[in-house]
């Protein structure tokens, strides 16, 4: 049983790290390909590409893998994916460059590969955006680089100078390319790769075509259905990257508010907080904390307060607009309510909400965050309402809560689940609980009275933690010009006078990140007194991407054109040296071959196949064979296809009669592409082989001297020519007489007549002599003449025992007298030929000196099957073996002495 690869990788990781996606690849070096597992590993907002060696394949347990190297992913990592054109196994080359180390991997195309590459790019892009040019130290990778790995035997020998050993790497914070083992090839990255920049997905933007080719080509090799799917994906990606071309920025006003209500009921009007401005906002995001401090809320996440406060908010919204509730979400005491003004309602889609608890045991909902996200026009927006850990000393805990929410809050309706940071705009509100450090109550009061907020802010933990990059690193916050919002004596405007005498703090905050966000106001609302916190609000102008339908259509259509063009260019294409194959002269049992040269002149491998036409039994007529009739051709290569004509006894009569011709249209189909028609033609040379007994008896001259039209007429019994032939000049065809006479003269004394095969070349000569009368005697050995005779009888359009009498002869084969009578009833030439043949066989048997009965039996079987043939289309009434016996019995009646 093969173990899930991700699971195997995960078991090789520390608990803090998670394998996002992994794939099996081959690492390419100048001298070898080595199987590897690439795993993208996440550690608290940082990522690493882990390269594992496979110690045992298939991977069954975690111990079958061993870590070879880790590439810490930051802005120094450059990656390129390319697929060499014209390789059918469609391997993707995945190249990773960091500083001066290069890894090249080969991946076979497929779902896993797609997922991995897509995820890798996503991570790479986000790292570029998050860390810019800065490098990370990747200290979390250190524990993986144990001495035992570095010290392994393979470490010795291979170009040690070109590698960065683990210790070296850790010592040098600029380089985060950990190599645990020296068995990788490193090289200077080529210039083109560096130039193509770190974001090959779309970032350089310039040469779209090249990129499309890179992406589309491997996909085109799959079936058309896959192609459709991939095409969808490509369209989506390209349209995303070209968003600027068809969207305009339109500004919307967003109100955000946060209030820790300390479990109080919604007993006050909220207008002063929510509707204090002249102009109505376009959107509201209002967050509460400690909405409900009851045990029920905590244990069962059930609160009557929810509706109460929701109603209070709804009642207090600005009167200047009509609002629609987008979504509310609550986790214990944390609630987030979002509204949009009515005209925007249609423009809000993909609404989702999630919660994350970071409280007791790291998961209870007394602390944590709730979030709502949606698309407003084309801008993705995420609002997070958080309540982080309390107490002045627990600053680190708050940082951790923030990190946990960032990491764990993912909108699960998306695949893969969508994290907070993957939004254009994030608004983060809540009771973040950061306090003022180092200051005593009195000091704070003093500074506050002076209005020295800037000075006070220097002691603000959020301010200092953010500056250190410990939390909210990428978020912005507007200048605070209001007094700390905590802690008040409830019902008053007085700071805590209780015994604890808590130092005032700006617990309640609003932060944001994203482009086109402008904060207009950042205020507290001290007139609301029911809680020990004051509510805070911030008003924003948010620039939102709005689709210009006309521009969008233009970009979309342009893309469609490009894709069509590529798709058409990558259709299979072949060139044939000819589309008309002329066999010229085609004669009975005389093989002839011609070659068709199929050249792949397109850009993709071609699978061709000659396909069956409607109403046909096969892909070509029975007298033709094609080899190979299906095959693959690589671009630039050619394939010789052999077409061979061979007219066997069973086909001769129809060709002789003109019912069939050497004429066929072959359909050469290219899989996933067009069809080409190839015409096959030739002139069939009529022969006495395949002519009727009737016709042959009436022809005084060799067959070749008879005009074709007359030949056709003689073949069909209804015509005047056939009637005239009734008084035929011959009792039996001269050709049969000629062959039998020859055998009688030279062969009967040869005991093995009809038991040895003839030579094909001699049979052709015999055929020609019979058809042309050019020689008086037949050429070749008696065995060839004997075989020619059998062929001749087999090719008769109406067998010696006529179709009309066939069934009776089978039915009455045991009745000698009846058989005699039946033969007498045959048309004259048929009964003559039959009697003549029987007489000849008796002579043959006469000369057989040993095993006479065996020979008789085999002759009876052989002639039975040739002389008695079922009419075409008639289902046999007996099993084959019994039928053969009946036929042999019929013949035996006439050859027994």
């Amino acid at each position: 049983m093969e173990m899930d690869l991700t699971q195997a990788v995960q078991q090789n990781l520390l608990n803090t790290d998670r394998c996002l996606v992994c794939v099996q690849v081959a690492e390419l070096s100048t001298w070898a390909k080595t199987s590897r597992i690439l795993a993208l590993v996440h550690h608290q907002g940082e990522y690493g590409l882990f390269i594992f060696a496979i110690d045992k394949s298939p991977v069954a347990t975690a111990s079958d893998l061993s870590l070879k190297a880790v590439v810490g992913i930051d802005a120094a990592v450059v990656c390129d994916v390319s697929s060499p054109l014209g390789i059918v196994e469609a391997d993707l080359e995945f190249k990773i460059v960091k500083h001066d180390c290069t890894y090249t991997f080969e991946m076979s195309i497929g779902q896993e590969c797609n997922t991995f590459v897509a995820e890798f790019y996503r991570v790479l892009q986000s790292c570029h955006e998050q860390y810019g040019d800065g490098t990370l130290d990747f200290s979390w990778v250190k524990p993986y680089g144990g001495e035992e790995i570095r010290g392994s035997s393979q470490a010795q020998g291979n170009q040690p100078h070109s590698h960065v050993s683990l210790s070296k790497a850790t010592g040098n914070s600029a380089s985060t390319f950990y190599t645990f083992e020296d068995n990788f090839q490193t090289s200077v990255p080529d210039a083109s790769l560096k130039k193509s920049s770190a974001l090959p997905a779309m970032a350089s933007g310039g040469n779209l075509r090249q990129k499309l080719e890179r992406e589309v080509t491997p996909l085109l090799r799959h079936s058309s259905l896959d192609m459709m799917g991939s095409r969808d994906g490509i369209i989506k990606r390209v349209m995303e990257t070209r968003e600027d071309e068809y969207t305009d920025i339109q500004t919307f006003r967003v109100f955000t508010g946060t209030w820790n209500v300390n479990g109080q009921p919604a007993s006050v009007a909220l207008q002063a907080w929510l509707a204090g401005d002249d102009e109505p906002p376009d959107m509201y995001a209002v967050g509460f904390q400690e909405l409900d401090l009851s045990k029920e809320a905590f244990l069962f996440n059930d609160s009557p307060r929810e509706d109460e406060w929701l109603q209070a908010v709804t009642n207090a919204l600005h009167r200047g607009a009509t609002y629609t509730l987008v979504r509310t979400i609550r986790l214990v005491g944390m609630m987030l309510v979002t509204y949009v003004a009515e005209p925007l309602r249609e423009r809000v889609i993909e609404v989702a909400a999630e919660t994350v608890g970071t409280g007791i045991m790291g998961k209870m909902g007394n602390k944590g965050g709730v979030a709502v996200r949606f698309l407003l026009h084309n801008t993705s927006l995420c609002v997070v309402n958080a309540h982080l850990a309390a107490h002045t000393d627990d600053c680190e805990r708050r940082n951790q809560d923030h990190a946990d929410i960032c990491e764990r809050l993912r909108f699960a309706r998306f695949d893969p689940p969508l994290p907070i940071w993957q939004h254009d705009v994030v608004l983060w509100i809540g009771d973040l609980n950061y306090r003022l450090d180092q200051l005593a109550y009195d000091q704070v009061m003093l500074l506050m009275e002076k209005g020295a907020f800037a000075k006070l802010l220097e002691y603000d933990q959020l301010y200092t933690q953010k500056k250190k990059g410990r939390a909210f690193k990428t978020y912005e916050e507007g200048p605070i010009t209001f007094r700390p919002t905590y802690k008040f004596d409830p019902g008053s405007d007085t700071y805590d006078t209780s015994e604890k005498c808590r130092v005032p703090a700006w617990c309640d905050r609003v932060l944001w990140k994203g482009q086109h966000v402008k904060q207009l106001t950042y205020r507290s609302h001290p007139t609301l007194m029911i809680s020990d916190h004051k509510p805070v609000s911030a008003l924003f102008d948010v620039g939102v991407k709005v689709v210009d339908v006309v521009k969008f259509k233009r970009v979309y259509e342009e893309l469609m054109k490009q894709l069509d063009k590529l798709e058409n260019e990558y259709l299979p294409q072949v060139t044939l040296d000819t589309m008309e194959i002329d066999f010229d002269r085609v004669a009975f049992v005389e093989p002839a071959a011609q070659y068709l040269i199929v050249a792949n002149t397109g850009q993709v491998p071609v699978e061709f196949e000659f396909i069956r036409k409607p109403n046909d039994a096969g892909y070509c007529k029975p007298w033709l064979s094609i080899s190979p009739y299906k095959d693959y051709i690589m671009p630039g290569e050619k394939r010789d296809v052999k077409l061979e004509v061979y007219v066997k006894a069973a086909m001769a009569a129809r060709l002789n009669a003109g019912d069939d011709r050497i004429d066929d249209i072959l359909v050469l189909h290219l899989h996933g592409g067009k069809d080409i028609f190839v015409t096959v033609g030739g002139r069939y040379v009529p022969s006495c082989f395949g002519a009727s007994l009737q016709a042959l008896c009436s022809m005084p001259t060799p067959l070749r001297e008879v005009p074709v039209a007359q030949l056709v007429d003689l073949g069909s019994p209804e015509t005047p020519a056939a009637a005239a032939a009734a008084d035929a000049p011959y009792d039996i065809p001269k050709e049969i007489w000629s062959m039998l006479n020859h055998l009688y003269e030279f062969g009967v004394q040869e005991g093995s007549l009809f038991q040895q095969p003839g030579l094909p070349s001699e049979i052709l000569q015999i055929r020609d002599v019979l058809d042309t009368g050019i020689a008086d005697s037949l050429p070749g050995s008696v065995h060839s003449v004997a075989e020619a005779l059998l062929m001749f009888l087999e090719a008769l359009p109406d067998p010696v025992v006529p179709y009309s009498h066939y069934q009776q002869c089978i039915d009455r084969s045991r009745d000698v007298t009846a058989c005699e009578q039946l033969v007498a009833a045959f048309p004259p030439c048929h009964s003559n030929v039959f009697r003549y043949l029987m007489a000849f066989l008796r002579t043959v048997l006469y000369f057989v000196d040993r095993n006479k009965s065996d020979v008789m039996e085999s002759l009876a079987l052989m002639f039975g099957s040739i002389l008695l043939r079922a009419p075409p289309g008639v289902e046999p009434t007996l099993p084959p073996r019994m039928l053969d016996n009946c036929k042999a019995t019929f013949v035996t009646n006439f050859i027994t002495e």
Binding site: E346, V351, N378, D415, V547, M560, N568, N615
Partner: protein
């Protein structure tokens, strides 16, 4: 571009339009301009001496309508009579057909009518048939009257346009007209494949984004 925002599009993003795929076949006597029409439509080109098609050429082309995208799989067949018996291979399963004649040759119009009859008898019952009187640029040598062809088309429920692959007259239009007329639901022949995906969100859809319709049909 790289520095623009940190957002990544979620997979659930809706589409500007769904993509429906249809098989379209061109039929008509040889040298009426079937391949030229396709070449004009797909590549915007015209060759005075277009090679005779010996087989069935295959190309794809996408047409964008307001609310959806139609992707044509175009089969351009050989017009010579000796390949007539192979035509069913190409119109079988086709959701659309363009029967082409040359307005300067009466015979080609008669042949076109025969094709229409054959399609009505043998092709799928919902097939959308368009009649194209090609070489409209050669109006001086006109042998088939516009009114006659139009009357015939009306009787038989065909789309009809006179076209010119040379001047591009009505070439895109006739494909567009077919795209509009094609039934976009599943029952109609099920040509549509997959759910179209484009980068833009569906502007007209409120609420839930990733709708579950991954089926074969459009709208």
């Amino acid at each position: 571009m790289a520095g623009r925002g940190t957002a990544q599009r979620p997979n659930g993003a809706g589409a500007a339009g769904k993509i429906c795929q249809f098989k379209l076949v061109l039929l008509g006597e040889s040298a009426v301009g079937k391949s030229s029409l396709v070449l004009r439509f797909v590549k915007g080109q015209f060759h005075e001496y277009q090679e005779s098609t010996i087989g069935a050429a295959f190309l794809t082309q996408t047409v964008c309508l307001d609310d959806l995208t139609v992707k044509f799989e175009i089969w351009d067949t050989a017009g010579q009579e000796r390949y007539h018996s192979l035509a069913p291979m190409y119109y079988r399963g086709a959701q659309a057909a363009i029967v082409v004649y040359d307005i300067t040759t009466q015979d080609t119009f008669s042949r076109a009518k025969t094709w229409v009859k054959e399609l009505q008898r043998q092709a799928s019952p919902n097939i959308v048939i368009a009649l194209a009187g090609n070489k409209a640029d050669l109006a001086n040598g006109r042998m088939v009257e516009f009114d006659e062809a139009q009357a015939y088309s009306e009787e038989n429920g065909l789309l009809f346009m006179e076209t010119s692959a040379k001047t591009a007259m009505n070439v895109n239009d006739i494909f567009l007209a077919i795209a509009k007329k094609l039934p976009k639901n599943d029952q109609a022949g099920g040509g549509a494949v997959g759910q179209g995906g484009s980068g833009s969100r569906r502007l007209d859809e409120g609420g839930a984004g990733s709708q579950g319709s991954t089926g074969k049909c459009c709208k």
